[in-house]
Amino acid sequence: IAGITQAPTSQILAAGRRMTLRCTQDMRHNAMYWYRQDLGLGLRLIHYSNTAGTTGKGEVPDGYSVSRANTDDFPLTLASAVPSQTSVYFCASSPREGGGTGELFFGEGSRLTVL
C-alpha cells in the first residue's frame, strides 16, 4: 500500500543518546513534515521541507535536525536526546508545498521514550 512509512514504531532511549527517526514516502510528494504529538498540546510542527534539498523550521525545532537529500526520505535526528523529547512523532507529506490542498498524509507514528 502506497503511503508513508516510519521507523522505528517505538523506541526507548537513554538521555544523551543520538537517535534518528526514519520517514519514507512513495507518493512522490514534494512537501514533508515532522510533527510531535503530546497530550494537551496537540500536534506541533518541528521541521518541514517543501522540496528535496530544502528544509525549514517549524514551531518547536530546538534539539532536532532534518535533511532532505531526495524526494522520498525525510529523517529526523535528535542529536542528544532529553526526557522532554518523549513524545509520539508523526511524519506527513503533501503533494505541494504549504500543505497543498490541505490534505496531509500521515505515517503511523514513532513513539519515543527518553529516560
Binding site: 510533527y35 498540546l41 500536534l43 510542527l45 518541514y48 496531509l104 503511523e108
Partner: protein, 111 residues
Amino acid sequence: AQRVTQPEKLLSVFKGAPVELKCNYSYSGSPELFWYVQYSRQRLQLLLRHISRESIKGFTADLNKGETSFHLKKPFAQEEDSAMYYCALKAPGGGADGLTFGKGTHLIIQP
C-alpha cells in the same frame, strides 16, 4: 500569527446524542479550515474541509467568518465516532509550513 483553539480537551456524550466539537481560529485573512481525525491505533487522516461543504460520516462543519469558528457537528453520535479530533488551518496561497493544528479534542461516545 495564525492560531487554532479547541477549548475542550475531552468531550463525552451518549450514543444517539448530538455532538459539537468547537474550533475557533485567529487569522487576518480568509483561511482554509479542516478537521482531522485519529481513531484508536490508526493514522491521523483528513475528515473534511470547509471548501468542499461535504458531509463525511454524518459530520458537517460550517465556516463562520463572523465568529471565526469552524465547529464540527453530528446530529446523532455513534460509538465508532470515538476518536481524537483536530481542527487545522491553512493560510491560502502561502504559509510554507503547511497546516496549523489545534490541541485536539478527545471525543468519547458512551453506549
